[in-house]
């Protein structure tokens, strides 16, 4: 299951392969939501800057800001694929999102200051959207920004902030107007994460690991000019930036790789008897999940092709999200189950894959909840894709 590449893409890919061969960093590639170690940050930033410099990332930016002005989802896809196959880090953080927001809505001074820093990967960026009471319903966010003199004063709390503890700048959504309906009162800001009054606390997840942060703002002051666009424009800016965000998740936790790993496990167990398989329906169930995994990849590739030909459907991404996250959960669950009673053994003591499947099982729910819960995705598919009546929305209820 590979996209057929034309000559120019083949040459682009070969260039990237050669670049990776000559510049391979010593730091590890990490799964999507894992942060680099603090001591690895310098090398990580340099590696990312090199990808910008050599036209593998950010080639779609306007020429004025260092790109070619030509977006190409197939090139993006090739980059994702090659970085993953080579096992080298991909650029992480909210750099892509903030760049989109600035290119479309930023003031000239903002562009002049931040865009070059983004290309040189001088800073790590985080995204400050979710709040405890604003999960699926992002527009319910409560963090406030009040203009006091020449500064915005920020008070509130964010949660699930990936890379928050390593970030130099944040892309912040905060409420600047309490009197209007939920979406209308939100504004977008750039916030210096080293500002006094910001408290970043690691958040522990069900697996026991910490990959996210809570971020508390206690009267944090930022310059008046750090607003992006106008007050109240935050929702529009965010939607537009998110719409441009590439679906990077596809190669990060490949379900086809998971299915292959399960097959290997089953084969190994036949050979050495280490895995007390749960029975003779293993093969059929594994086949069903493998088929599902292959289709997940096919849907993803189709999404790339459609994006490349400008024929993307309004809910393509939502469908991929649901299929990926539910296939991933089913695979992880099966990975635990087919170990039988020993499937409860976790960590390095585990006889199979060092407890990979036990952790994957606990982790897998994250994908069906985050980035728009699958319930929200199904609503989107039904309403935007199929034209069914909308659920009551906050606009109506206020």
């Amino acid at each position: 299951m590979q996209l057929q590449l034309d000559d120019s893409l083949v040459s682009f890919r070969d260039g990237l392969r050669s670049y990776i061969g000559h510049n391979r960093p010593s730091i590890p590639r990490l799964p999507g939501s894992r942060s680099p170690q603090p001591e690895d940050m310098a090398e990580f930033k340099a590696w990312c800057a090199g990808l910008f410099d050599n036209g593998f990332v950010g080639f779609d930016w306007p020429e004025e800001w260092g790109g070619t002005g030509v977006p190409d989802p197939l090139k993006d896809y090739v980059v994702d694929l090659e970085l993953a196959d080579a096992g080298v880090p991909r650029p992480v953080g909210a750099f892509n999102l903030i760049a989109r927001a600035l290119l479309e809505f930023g003031a000239d001074e903002q562009k002049a200051f931040y865009l070059p820093r983004i290309r040189s990967f001088t800073d790590m960026w985080c995204q400050l959207f979710s709040e405890p009471d604003a999960g699926s319903d992002l527009a319910a966010l409560r963090t406030r920004a009040e203009l006091v003199g020449d500064e915005w004063v920020i008070t509130g709390q964010k949660v699930w902030t990936t890379h928050g503890h390593l970030s130099d700048f944040g892309f912040l959504l905060a409420r600047t107007d309490q009197t209007v309906s939920k979406h209308a009162g939100i504004s977008a800001f750039i916030i210096d994460m080293h500002s006094p009054g910001i408290d970043v606390r690691p958040l522990r997840e069900v697996t026991g690991a910490t990959d996210f942060n809570e971020v508390f703002f206690d009267s944090v002051r930022i310059p008046r000019d750090n607003i992006i666009g106008s007050p109240g424009q935050g929702w529009e800016i965010t939607r537009s930036a998110l719409a441009h965000e590439r679906a990077l998740s596809l190669r990060e936790d490949s379900v086809v790789d998971s299915a292959a790993r399960l097959l290997e496990l089953v084969q190994r167990s036949r050979a050495d008897g280490t895995v007390p398989l749960s029975g003779d329906d293993v093969s059929r169930r594994l086949g069903e999940l493998t088929a599902r995994a292959r289709v997940t990849d096919l849907l993803g590739m189709e999404g790339v092709l459609r994006a490349a030909t400008g024929t993307s459907g309004p809910v393509d991404a939502a469908i991929v999200k649901v299929v990926f996250s539910e296939t991933n959960l089913a695979l992880a669950t099966f990975g635990v189950e087919l170990q039988g009673a020993d499937g409860i053994i976790a960590g390095p003591a585990s006889r199979v894959d060092d407890g990979h499947w036990q952790e994957a099982y606990l982790w897998a729910r994250g994908f069906t909840i985050s980035a728009g819960s699958n319930e929200i995705m199904r609503n989107l598919i039904a309403e935007n894709g199929l034209g069914l009546p909308r659920e009551p929305r906050p606009e109506r209820s206020k």
Partner: protein
């Protein structure tokens, strides 16, 4: 003539339009009342306009379609649940062409151009192939003048169904397609391909075309259901405004998109000759389950009206289930997928 994306979209529109005009649902209702048989008028039109010859190579004046194009026809044929043996004829011709039989046996090509149909047994899979045989079980739409492809471990035999063959009808769940068991002797064998791979190729081609047809069947049931859910009121609301129905329809749509990707992927695999088994097993696992599930959910959303004989929905449910079971059930293909990837049986 592999089409690009835009050409294929146009081609699909032409197909859909053709069936909408020549094989509308009312025609289906008529066949229900009169009993299931072959739609001769429709077949004549399909032959006349070249639809039946799409898999005949271009150098033999056919359409020369790759499977990536041909599945579009199968899907639209499924959507219309049309009563002519178009899907088997295209799949069978595709395999005959691949092995040069149409060139080596010009009389066969001539008959097909004149309207002869091609068919094959639908109960087989590669593990059930045995020695060369003189009978075929569960053959779709066999009739005098049809060519019947009989797979075995030795390859494929091409048999002409005529007065010398013994055809006994089999009653099935599928009310708009006829099935029969066929017996024959060597006098009616018009060609033989002595290559086991030919039997496998018939299987993989037939599975992909069947999956495409089932996808069309499921899409038709889905479209009916979506429209009904926007129309039907209960408790003073259209039922499509209830979130339970919205999410059900979203799930049905998700399954259709998965099946679409799986069918397209499998057709391309055959055209490219890469990962053929893996792809067709995937197509049948995902597509076979999807079509049965979607049509069954369609009935649930329709409520009582979809439980009546007069509503066409049950014809779609029947076709989806029959296709699911024929040419290897999803469960069979799932085990075979793991075996293909592992290179050995896995339990």
């Amino acid at each position: 003539m592999p089409m690009d994306l835009e050409e294929r979209d146009e081609f699909r529109a032409v197909c859909r339009d053709f069936f909408a005009k020549r094989a509308p649902v009312d025609r289906l209702r008529r066949y229900l009342v009169e009993g299931s048989d072959f739609d001769d008028d429709l077949w004549s039109a399909l032959v006349e306009q070249g639809w039946a010859l799409l898999a005949v190579p271009e150098n033999l004046d056919g359409g020369g379609g790759g499977l990536a194009d041909l599945v579009v026809v199968a899907e639209e044929a499924g959507r219309a649940l049309q009563g002519a043996p178009l899907v088997t004829t295209i799949a069978g011709t595709f395999v005959l062409a691949r092995y040069g039989v149409l060139e080596s046996h010009p009389e066969v090509l001539e008959s097909i151009v004149a309207g002869a149909t091609v068919t094959y047994p639908m109960g087989f899979d590669p593990t059930s192939l045995g020695e060369r045989t003189n009978s075929a079980h569960l053959v779709a739409d066999a009739r005098p003048g049809s060519y019947l492809l009989v797979p075995s471990d030795s390859g494929l035999d091409l048999v002409l169904v005529d007065a010398m063959t013994k055809t006994s009808a089999v009653e099935t769940m599928d009310l708009v397609r006829s099935f029969s068991d066929v017996g024959f002797d060597s006098s009616v064998v018009v060609a033989s391909i002595d290559d086991r791979q030919a039997a496998i190729d018939l299987f993989t081609t037939a599975v992909v075309m069947q999956a495409a047809e089932s996808l069309g069947v499921a899409r038709a049931a889905f479209d009916m259901t979506l429209a009904y859910s926007k129309e039907r009121k209960q408790f003073d609301r259209t039922i499509g405004s209830f979130q339970a129905i919205k999410h059900r329809l979203a799930d049905m749509y998700i399954e259709l998109q998965c099946a679409t990707a799986a069918v397209a992927g499998a057709a391309e695999s055959i055209d490219n000759g890469s990962e053929v088994l893996e792809s067709i097993h995937t197509a049948k696992s995902v597509g076979g389950r999807a079509a049965s599930w979607v049509t069954s959910q369609a009935q649930q959303v329709h409520g009582g009206i979809g439980f009546t004989w007069e509503h066409v929905l049950h014809l779609y449910i029947r076709r989806a289930k029959a296709n699911e079971l024929l040419l290897g059930s999803p469960a069979w293909h799932e085990r075979a997928l793991v075996e293909a990837l592992a290179g050995e049986p896995v339990s």
